[in-house]
């Protein structure tokens, strides 16, 4: 490993990787006094790579791309009604780029890089580095390439380093998604000079090296990574992407047991517990600082598969929608954290998600079922993901109970993690299932692109509607301000609520507990952004 893991080097701070900053790690201090600028975070998941572009890198690891690397641009920050911080989708702010201009036809975006921006090794960030990093993102395949494609960034020939500080992106067609897609974690900028030293014929993008080393210009660098146990960030004092974080070190410990994490945060031995269950969030509220932020562009839904004969009948789908005890689910499964998505009073805005017109009404449900060809009911397996059983299991049980009253007999089928994606999203073979999708880019058309278009990954219902296909195609690249945008999007909502391939339940929330630290900010990627963290 390239990280300095030798104990003596770490303690004495004598190594290059650590510099003089190793001091807060005194050997015999109790945890509480471990240093005024060390923030300890616990989470249940594991970091499996320092490189987001690598095949198999899991979600929690995306935070390394956020904390240790810069992108050309980022999103702004806004204060939520409850006083907490959230990223602001509506403003795009400079990170490595000082300024940018868009050409008349909307196809060429020209970025001017910050002249003072340097990598952690002190070398200047050049347009050549940006070019190499973007080429890497569109070439490695898998998730990074898919995400780049969402913004119309498909091929290396779209990127050009004009001079040392000027970089251009050329789009095949203008799209409102292009600039925001440069602010997601994927197009991060690596130090191509270091990376190229580790390139081999079999590994043209230095995947092996970047997997274990952070070579960015970001706010932190990883100074220690014990896979399965902990990750230690150390502040990069040369960072130019924003105001320096208050925390000098952030220690991220992996603690699989939720009960243990809760004991730790309540005792104050750790300063932050990441992604706590809704139950803990409601119980801890008041004892420690708890932030619950509704996750943008995400809904928990019941997915009705169009390949399953009874669900091809619109009245059966409506009967199911009226038979869901929304309120009870929201209270039991979400502990009231999130936003209700039922009982809407008509489509007036283009906000997404927005409540469906359905409410819990068994009489109406019966009426619809009577009208259908399945008045006597039917049998259906109800599939849930074992990995998300905290909300899926109570939800499924509550729905099962009400469906039984209509004569629809459902048996709950728990599917383990690795099979879940295959069964629900790839093979799309589950007749009745719970599903969750959240779009990184916060536009309704982007949600519909993934979840309602035929054959797309999150369309687990095998839904196909020619009008939706056309509307999504027309709106995806259209600016929101365009006069055609709102009517077309509202029409999509209307069809979605009428056809009901996905019955919305509620918008979930991301909950984080803090005890003795400040600077939590919600981000759409739902991973830790440590760039504003400070103790206190």
């Amino acid at each position: 490993m390239g990280l300095d893991t030798s104990r003596r080097g770490f303690l004495k701070g004598g190594s290059v990787a650590l510099g003089a900053a190793a001091l807060p790690f005194l050997k015999f201090m109790p945890a509480q006094a471990a240093g005024d600028d060390v923030v300890v975070v616990v989470m249940g998941q594991t970091i499996n790579s320092l490189d987001l572009h690598r095949t198999g890198t899991n979600r929690p690891s995306y935070q390394v791309a956020v904390n240790c690397y810069d992108r050309l641009v980022s999103f702004g920050t806004k204060t939520m009604p409850d006083g907490s911080l959230s990223y602001d989708y509506s403003t795009i702010v400079p990170e490595l780029a000082q300024s940018w201009t868009v050409s008349e036809d909307g196809k060429v975006i020209t970025f001017k890089l910050k002249p003072e921006a340097v990598f952690q090794d002190g070398s200047k960030v050049t347009a050549e580095d940006v070019k190499w990093s973007f080429d890497r993102a569109v070439s490695v395949g898998g998730f990074p390439t898919t995400q780049m494609a969402a913004g119309g960034l498909l091929r290396p020939d779209q990127f050009a380093a004009v001079d040392e500080e000027t970089f251009t992106v050329t789009l095949d067609k203008p799209s409102k998604l292009a600039l925001p897609d440069l602010a997601v974690p994927v197009p991060f900028v690596l130090n191509s000079k270091i990376a190229k030293q580790h390139v081999t014929d079999a590994d043209p993008w230095a995947m092996e090296y970047v997997h274990k080393n952070t070579i960015g210009s970001g706010a932190y660098k990883v100074v220690r990574w014990d896979p399965g146990q902990q990750l230690v960030y150390e502040r990069n004092d040369k960072w130019t992407g924003g105001p320096l974080p208050g925390a000098k070190r952030v220690v991220l410990r992996e603690v699989p047991s939720q009960a243990t994490r809760r004991a730790l945060i309540e005792r104050g031995d750790v300063q932050m517990s990441w992604n706590i269950p809704n139950k803990d969030a409601s119980e801890l509220d008041g004892k420690v600082e708890v932030y619950s932020t509704p996750i943008e562009n995400a809904i928990y839904v019941v997915s009705l598969n169009y390949n399953f004969e009874p669900f091809q009948d619109p009245d059966v789908r409506k009967a199911v929608a009226y038979a869901i005890p929304y309120e009870e689910i929201f209270k039991t499964a979400a502990y009231g954290r999130g936003v209700p998505m039922w009982g809407g009073s008509g489509i007036e805005t283009i906000d997404w998600p927005q409540p469906s017109p359905y409410v819990f009404d068994l009489d109406k449900a019966r009426e619809h079922l009577e009208k259908s060809a399945f008045a006597g009911g039917f049998d259906v397996p109800f599939s849930i993901d074992l990995g998300q059983s905290d909300w899926m299991e109570p939800t499924a049980l509550l729905i099962q109970e009400q469906l039984a009253k209509l004569g629809i007999t459902s048996t709950i089928d728990k599917i383990p993690g690795a099979n879940w994606r295959t069964a629900s999203l790839v093979e799309k073979r589950l007749p009745l299932a719970l599903e969750t999708f959240g779009g990184w880019l916060n536009y309704p058309c982007y949600y519909f692109f993934w979840a309602y278009q035929e054959g797309h990954l999150f369309n687990s219902s095998n839904y196909a509607n020619p009008e939706i296909e056309q509307l999504v195609g027309e709106t995806l690249d259209l600016p929101v301000e365009h006069p055609d945008y709102a009517p077309k999007v509202k029409r999509m909502f209307e069809i979605a609520f009428e056809d009901l391939p996905r019955i919305p339940l509620f918008q979930p929330a991301l909950s984080v507990a803090m005890n003795g630290a400040t600077g939590y900010e919600y981000w759409f990627h739902r991973e830790l952004d440590a760039r504003k963290l400070a103790k206190g």
Partner: protein, 341 residues
């Protein structure tokens, strides 16, 4: 001695077909798992094309015999492959995690034996007395409480309420650093480095999880000791020894206990092997970076290399364990001719 060495070698040779069988079966079994690793590891927003790309990258598009051939070839070079869930070579990961599990299990068994064996002997010498009942009560309680419950309860009392125990954050609190690795056992490594602070820190982290496991393993050892002692004490040679006027101490430890040891050692071997695999829950509760939680995570994600590595590693361990137990038999009771087999 020479004969014994030859016997050991022949035993090891006999283990070879077992290992080969394990290699084949673990390969086939992981492939028979219903999950699709390519879909799992292609990421959240992957489409069919990128899942296919991932499949090719992972080498899962090749035929089964081809995959097996590659696996055996790698294995022959001591390479267990790369785990996808943790992104690390399986060998490295096992080398780091196995000592963690072994250290925890061994300490727990040591504690457990220290309590259970004397308790069993005492209960056997005074059957029906209060100590016999107390022994029964303790072991029943120990075995009927699930380990994750005991673990959480211990954390609640000794960490959350009283603050006596350190933060349950794995093998060492984050303010300490791992001792330079020699054996991978923190207690041994810290002692070798002469670092008393780290030694005590590692011990403090060990106490609660080891106590949890020890409580769970008390029952089989204590019950077996008691039963074996009872049958030994009621046998003819003890009556003869008593009639010959030997001291009760000599009778109890020189004759009865020694004869009762065989079933106890057998039980110990069994308890050790199932504890090593079954302490997943304890590892999760105490954030212990052990081999059990590694295997479970790998299984959930259909992480072939990691599961195969784990199974192989456990198979090797059991072969070694059985050998050690057989050797112990022949030392305890020379009538059992290990070398004659």
């Amino acid at each position: 001695m020479n004969r014994r060495l030859r016997a050991v070698l022949s035993r090891l040779a006999q283990a070879l077909p077992v290992i080969l069988g394990v290699v084949l079966v673990s390969f086939l079994l992981t492939r028979a798992l219903p999950g699709d690793p390519a879909a799992y590891f292609a990421g959240d927003a992957a489409d069919a094309a990128s899942i296919e790309e991932t499949r090719v990258k992972l080498g899962l598009d090749r035929s089964m015999p081809e995959q097996f051939g590659l696996y055996v070839l790698q294995l022959a070079q001591g390479d267990l492959g790369q785990s996808l869930t943790t992104g690390q070579p399986v060998v490295e990961e096992l080398a780091r995690r196995l000592p963690a599990s072994l250290e925890l299990t061994l300490v727990a068994l040591l504690v457990s034996c220290g309590i259970a064996v004397p308790l069993g002997v005492l209960a056997a010498t005074r059957p029906g007395s209060w100590i016999d009942h107390a022994c029964r009560l303790l072991v029943t309680a120990g075995v009927s409480l699930p380990t994750f419950f005991t673990g959480v309860a211990l954390i609640y009392v000794f960490y959350y309420l009283t603050g006596w125990a350190p933060s349950p954050l794995g093998r060492l609190d984050f303010i300490y650093l791992e001792p330079p690795s020699v054996t991978g056992f923190f207690l041994i490594d810290a002692a070798l480095a002469g670092d008393a602070e780290t030694w005590f820190a590692a011990l403090r982290q060990l106490i609660l999880p080891a106590a949890t496991l020890a409580l769970f393993t008390l029952a089989p050892i204590a019950r077996m000791t008691r039963a074996a002692m009872l049958s030994a004490l009621s046998s003819d040679y003890i009556r003869t020894a008593r009639a010959a006027g030997l001291t009760s101490r000599k009778i109890l430890f020189g004759y009865a206990f020694r004869n009762a040891l065989l079933p106890v050692v057998t039980t110990l071997g069994m308890v050790f092997s199932f504890t090593l695999g079954a302490n997943v829950l304890v590892e999760k509760v105490f954030a212990w970076p052990g081999i059990g939680s590694y295997a479970v995570e790998a299984l959930v994600a259909s992480d072939y290399a990691a599961v195969q590595g784990f199974v192989l590693c456990m198979a090797l361990l059991f072969v070694a364990l059985n050998l050690v137990i057989d050797l112990a038999y022949s030392m305890i009771d020379p009538r059992i001719g290990f070398d004659s087999k």
